[in-house]
């Protein structure tokens, strides 16, 4: 992988679609539409970077273990918030796990790529001690239940971020994938 230089701001600005300065929607009472748009750039740091690179290049899900409290974090965290220790010990976890909770959202926001409904869940992967928050897919909503076995499905095109996992879907033996 070539080292990618951080983008400059100008590249980020091109991601934004321009709009008119502001529209006065009513003069009395005076109400105007004001936009506040900023592209923000976040650097994941070494731990999340390694996690994302593994997702992208090898479709592997890595966790990180706290030597003090023994907790295996998936997704991984640089610092164990309980022990306030830096974490170093990488462990590979399975791409299957147990559904801890879920919800179906029925509204669509401008940040969403697809129309609602949208199903979210938290999956505790085998070998992890924490839950992984993500989308659920290929799901019969009626059959969804806490404790259901789930597995990660990866995107075809992966960019090195959390969306390289497309969603978690029920494992066929226990669920009812469509």
């Amino acid at each position: 992988m070539p080292n990618k230089k951080p983008s400059n701001y100008a590249d980020m600005f091109h991601l934004i679609s321009p709009s008119k300065p502001f529209n006065v929607s009513s003069l009395d009472p005076y109400v105007a539409e004001i936009r506040l748009v900023m592209p923000y750039r976040y650097f994941p740091g070494p731990t999340a970077t390694r996690f994302f690179v593994e997702l992208r290049d090898n479709q592997r899900i890595l966790g990180i273990k706290c030597r003090t409290c023994g907790i295996v974090y998936v997704p991984p965290e640089t610092i164990c918030g309980r022990c306030f220790e830096k974490l170093h010990e990488w462990v590979e976890v399975g791409n299957q796990g147990v559904l801890q909770t879920y919800t179906t959202s029925h509204y669509t926001l401008p940040i969403h790529r697809n129309q609602a409904p949208r199903i979210y869940g938290i999956v505790k992967l085998d070998g992890a001690d924490t839950g992984f928050l993500h989308h659920l897919g290929e799901v019969d909503v009626e059959a969804l239940h806490i404790g259901m076995r789930m597995e990660a499905v990866f995107m075809e095109e992966r960019a090195g971020n959390v969306l390289d996992i497309k969603y978690f879907r029920p494992v066929s033996s226990s669920g009812s994938p469509l």
Binding site: P6, Y40, F43, G45, A48, I79, G81, F84
Partner: protein, 388 residues
């Protein structure tokens, strides 16, 4: 009065333009770790945590919430403060009240900013009234240009003098391992740098930096057993300023008393500071531009009106001088905004400890003033002393 408050731990990251190697939580952790090591404490010894940054600079709503792991806030009480440029100073003041109340023995105060997330000049545009000046306003350069212009006209100072002030701050910054800009400047270099708004040149303005700083405050009892000699925060004062000034481009047709004068005179009176240039040994003023230095020196009564540039000309503000100002290199060398005010306090405390290394002032340092400035000429002042 309540419990006395001391600084017993100091930590800061090295400040840089870009921290693409690290996320904001890891950056905070770096500063907190250093402060804990400095105080020889663990996170368990910390009773409460106060944190500050500018929300729209990184785009995080409730950034304290997403900093819990890095800041060691898990299952601890704490607050998030934000008062603009003064935030770092306000956070220390907040920690000071916490200890003074007697309800907490130790408080960890954290200021941070990761300005590589977005250009802060764009975020700062949103500090203006959307239906009035938001579409026109851009940065703070104009404020300092007016300041400089007025100062030159009234007191006969020349551009060279502000350039000298900038050179001195650069010289100081080169002796500070944490500083962002460590420039080797001559007066000519400054005078040759691009004019932003005359007389403000590019080199007169503060950079945009990424960085975090942390302080550990504690009460008298705990401070007596601290690993390092405590530096006492003897008193604090804050003053803000009305909006009409800001909306007029921060310029007043008939200049009135400033927030700095009001706050400084209150604080001086309470602490029997009658001649600041004598009673205060080190100054960490928050000077976002080298052009702000002269008015600041005069508003803080370090000297008479019109005298500041002459003192700078005599170079008494240098680390070796009689009135050392910004021995750290100041905000013009390092400006992670949410941390800037806190760094002023941290640097002043290091001076009083005698631990400022190459930037340690030559004179005996027992008292210091650290300030934070921001928004519409708002000010926070902290008075530090080696002695209780």
């Amino acid at each position: 009065m309540g419990e006395r408050v001391a600084i017993i731990g100091i930590g800061q990251t090295d400040h840089r333009y870009l921290r693409s190697d690290i996320n904001h939580e890891e950056m905070i952790y770096e500063a907190v770790r250093k402060a804990l090591e400095d105080a020889d404490l663990t996170i368990r010894d910390i009773d409460t945590i106060i944190i500050d940054n500018m929300d729209l600079f990184e785009g995080h709503y409730l950034s304290d919430a997403m900093s819990v792991d890095g800041a060691g806030m898990y299952l601890k009480p704490g607050l998030k403060m934000n008062t603009g440029g003064t935030s770092g100073g306000t956070a220390v003041v907040t920690g000071w009240h916490h200890i003074a109340s007697g309800l907490f023995e130790t408080a960890l105060v954290i200021g941070w900013e990761k300005q590589d997330a977005a250009p802060s000049i764009s975020a700062l545009v949103t500090a203006r009234e959307p239906l009035y000046d938001r579409g026109m306003g851009a940065g703070a350069v104009g404020i300092f240009a007016t300041m400089g212009l007025k100062y030159m006209r009234e007191y006969g100072c020349r551009e060279e003098h502000a350039a000298l002030a900038r050179v001195i701050m650069a010289d100081n910054a080169r002796r500070n391992p944490h500083a962002h800009l460590k420039l080797d400047l001559t007066i000519e270099d400054v005078l040759k740098s691009r004019v932003l708004v005359w007389p403000v040149r590019l080199l007169h303005m503060s950079p945009t930096s990424c960085g975090a700083a942390a302080l550990i405050l504690s009460n008298e009892n705990k401070s007596r057993r601290a690993a390092k000699p405590p530096v006492w925060i003897k008193d604090i004062e804050t003053a803000h300023r009305e909006q009409s000034v800001w909306r007029g481009g921060c310029v007043e047709p008939n200049p009135k008393v400033t927030a700095i004068e009001v706050a400084a005179s209150k604080l001086y009176r309470r602490n029997n500071i009658t001649k600041p240039s004598r009673d205060i040994d080190v100054w960490e003023l928050y000077t976002p531009s080298s052009w702000a230095l002269f008015p600041w020196m005069e508003l803080f009564s370090i000297c008479e009106k019109g005298e500041a540039w002459r003192l700078v000309e005599k170079e008494v503000i240098r680390i070796e001088g009689e009135i050392p100002i910004e021995p750290s290199g100041g905000v013009v060398s390092t400006n992670p905004i949410g941390a800037s005010g806190l760094i002023r306090v941290a640097e002043a405390a290091l001076q009083l400890r005698g631990e400022a290394g190459e930037r340690q002032v030559t004179k005996k340092a027992e008292t210091a003033i650290a300030t934070a400035w921001g928004a519409c000429h708002w000010i926070v002042i902290l008075y530090l002393s080696k002695h209780l």
